[in-house]
Homo-oligomer: 135 residues x 4
């Protein structure tokens, strides 16, 4: 549906574990940094989103395959593709690459929710427009 | 295939984010703490596993649904069930509950790998026996 | 000024880094878990504190010495002692031990602040009383 | 002793907590990212350092003042200055700024240790030279 957006990540000690590789939960941070930068690229800041529109995006499903491990000092490229854009949700296809090597791939479903209720809420029209303009 | 093993987790500030709820990546830490304690309950420590058998368990796939958010000070129960026990992998069914409320559920596939190669390696017989004795 | 309160912590993969030891920032999580449990022991929950009194505790200074590293699967005891109790702040003396071995020690200054302003605010009388009753 | 090296950091959801501000332990990650990039700027990669010289840098003391909080989406500048360069240690002065506003400041003492022993070890001459060339 869209060309991918890319975001580069450097692996620091904080990201690794005693196995000498990036700890599996930390890829979720990398994936979210890339989604956040994709959204910022579309002109939407999340702090402002919460303050102005009283909504935020929360993850409702993740399905990830870990193919190969990343190590300290690696430079990774995280891709952000949109699989499906719904009224109150966005389904992303995301991957983590080290050069030509695919390390992690999968899908992340994100729901728009009210900041107080944390229940599904339609993506505000103004935000939806900005998202559609990027894909 | 097995009765679930349970492990209780308290939510601290470190686990939450500016949305006022537990950050989605941090459930992966909770799930792993519970798997680690299940393994310890079976008589297997992971530090010793790496030192003595030169293998470790790494996650190869996660598929998680986030139903409802946890908040600061919540006490959660993480369940560990075994869906499938392979020669070099274990597939877990895991859930996070707050009392009677299901917050997160899904499956986690874990592979046994050599600590140096980080490539699949059969679960050592002695470890396999301990695991089988618990399920 | 007070007898120490103790809280036990288990070291998981999430806490370690590629150096094979606990990552230095993660001791701050351990120290805070112990302070949180000390406060809970005094009858004060932090979620309730924010909701009911509109204040929270934030750290204003840390001074820590890292003597020896902790490793995967270590069981640590975190101590919480009170050095000074002010109108709007608490100074803690804290240590991390593995058995008889001191790993980390130092002081942590915590300030009471308004949840909206994040500016110093006197510790509510009801909370102060509970704290004083424990020391 | 030296002009400061600067490194920019963006605040993501992962960095914040339910207080709506950056969690205090996470500044230690920011400070280390900046030290790592300073070291890389001097031509020293930490993965290579461990592999080639069998040493790594570990923190032995931190003394930090938290002046004002950072929030989601903030862009921070982390400074790295060298206060003292010893045979087997480096003392850094570091600060976190948001524009002209100082948020966190303090000192971080880092020791060179053997990767196996985790005991003090002189900084290898080749590395020392690269460090001296940058300050």
């Amino acid at each position: 549906m869209s060309n991918a957006f890319n975001w580069n990540i450097r692996v620091y000690y904080e990201d690794t574990d005693a196995g000498g590789i990036v700890y599996y939960a930390n890829y979720l941070k990398f994936l979210e940094r890339a989604r956040t930068e994709w959204l910022r690229h579309a002109g939407v800041g999340q702090y402002e989103l919460a303050q102005t529109h009283a909504v935020m995006f929360v993850v409702s499903n993740i399905n990830l395959n870990y193919h190969l491990p990343a190590k300290l000092d690696d430079e990774l490229t995280i891709t952000v593709g949109i699989k499906r854009l719904g009224r109150a949700s966005v389904e992303f296809a995301q991957q983590a690459w080290r050069g030509e090597t695919l390390l992690v791939s999968g899908s992340v479903m994100v729901a728009c929710v009210g900041v107080k209720t944390i229940r599904p809420y339609p993506i505000p029209a103004q935000i939806m427009k900005k998202i559609k303009d990027t894909i």
